[in-house]
């Protein structure tokens, strides 16, 4: 009898194996495949590494517990991105509630928001383009969550419009509109980078 190499299987085949036989090895492969893309996606959305790790782990736990709710008509990536996106939005709302005091008053005249410094591990600091990366991340954090999600999925995760539409549960036209508006806002916020 030949041994199945799980690494050769597609995501959909792996989740079906996990659904039918409760094969932990199949789940482990899925975790390996998706942990970094999801970390990248959620980090860009939240801007907080610790919270991002928790959200991605929670996503994996949900996949494990609710594996039977996945239907093979959809792509596995769409399903897992939807879960992660919903959890990230919930976390973002929680973070907003946690901010007891607002420091908007400091920048009220200029209509600017000051970010509370995040002292947790920041991967961007370790690279040469760290400062630029940080500026872009701050700009991403300033655009509205709906536009932010669309822009990240398109320009950071490089997903197709159709996939983004499925993940966000909106039409392709709306996806394109949101991406455009998000990009426009980003361009405005990052003007000074292009001057340099």
């Amino acid at each position: 009898m030949t041994e199945i190499n799980f690494n050769d299987l597609t995501d959909e085949e792996l989740i079906i194996k996990f659904q039918n036989n409760n094969t932990i090895a199949a789940f482990e492969i899925l975790v390996k495949r998706y942990k970094n893309p999801l970390m990248n996606y959620v980090f860009r959305f939240l801007g907080d590494y610790e919270a991002c790790t928790d959200v991605v782990q929670e996503t994996m736990i949900k996949v494990y517990r609710y594996k039977d709710s996945y239907q093979s008509i959809a792509k596995f990536s769409t399903w897992i991105y939807t879960i992660a996106g919903n959890l990230a939005k919930t976390e973002l709302q929680r973070q907003r509630r946690r901010k007891i005091f607002s420091i908007n008053a400091f920048g009220a005249e200029k209509d600017e928001n000051y970010e509370i410094p995040d002292n947790s591990y920041r991967p961007d600091v370790e690279t040469d383009s760290g400062i630029k990366d940080e500026i872009i991340q701050k700009a991403i954090s300033k655009i509205s969550p709906a536009y932010r999600q669309a822009v990240i999925l398109r320009d950071v995760q490089e997903l197709s419009y159709e996939e983004i539409a499925d993940i966000m549960e909106i039409t392709v036209g709306t996806v394109k509109s949101r991406i455009n508006r998000g990009r426009a806002q980003l361009q405005k916020l990052l003007k000074h980078i292009y001057k340099d």
Binding site: V31, K35, Q57, V156, N180, L190
Partner: protein
């Protein structure tokens, strides 16, 4: 209509976003994940009944129940305390006694009294007051100014079978009819004190004249 497919306006932004550093999961990601998963599974295995009877939940609930029971018996919150306190209770009222005379034959008097009408009671009271006024040697206290008659004969050394007549008849004297009052049995000493007071008052009235 706006053309959203044209990305040329945002080439700079798109390139910057694509050049962003890729974020990676921490080294212990899988380990922490599987620890969390095993913890979740353990939590699911514990049934509802088991959860209730764990010491962490059982001890506080039993303690609370015991406290409530003890407080219930200590305070006895459902019984009105005024009913049991003799000092706060109303005095016993003899509403059935309307007119009482000198107790030659008390049982007979009582039966007669119950059958009397209101007019009869006024008439009887007037006659009684007249008799008492006519016979000052009678063993009674008679003060028409106060509208009080104390009549009766001592039965024993410590008790006195008589009554205080507080009736107000149509001619102005006090009547007991319709009044609730407590019957007082005067002792010999009390009677003597009242007699003394009466004499003093009579003397004072005489002097004033």
């Amino acid at each position: 209509m706006k053309n959203y497919d044209d990305d040329s306006n945002f080439i700079g932004v798109i390139n910057e976003l694509k050049k962003l550093n890729k974020i990676e999961a921490p080294q212990n990601f899988e380990k922490v994940l599987f620890d969390k998963l095993s913890q979740t599974q353990e939590d699911e295995k514990i049934s509802f009944i088991d959860r209730i009877f764990t010491p962490a939940r059982l001890i506080p609930s039993v303690g609370l129940a015991a406290t409530i029971i003890i407080l219930f018996f200590l305070t006895n919150i459902f019984v009105q305390s005024t009913e049991e306190n003799p000092l706060l209770a109303d005095p016993r009222v003899r509403g059935d006694v309307i007119v009482t005379k000198v107790a030659d034959n008390p049982s007979k008097k009582e039966t007669n009294t119950k059958t009397e009408t209101k007019e009869d009671i006024f008439a009887a009271t007037d006659n009684e007051n007249k008799n008492l006024n006519d016979n000052p040697t009678n063993n009674s206290i008679n003060d028409p100014n106060l509208g009080i008659r104390i009549t009766g004969e001592p039965i024993t050394n410590n008790s006195y079978n008589g009554s205080i007549l507080t009736s107000v008849s149509p001619n102005g004297s006090i009547d007991k009819n319709g009044l609730d009052y407590k019957q007082i049995y005067l002792q010999r000493l009390q009677r003597a004190q009242i007699e003394q007071l009466r004499k003093k008052m009579e003397e004072m009235l005489r002097n004033n004249r």
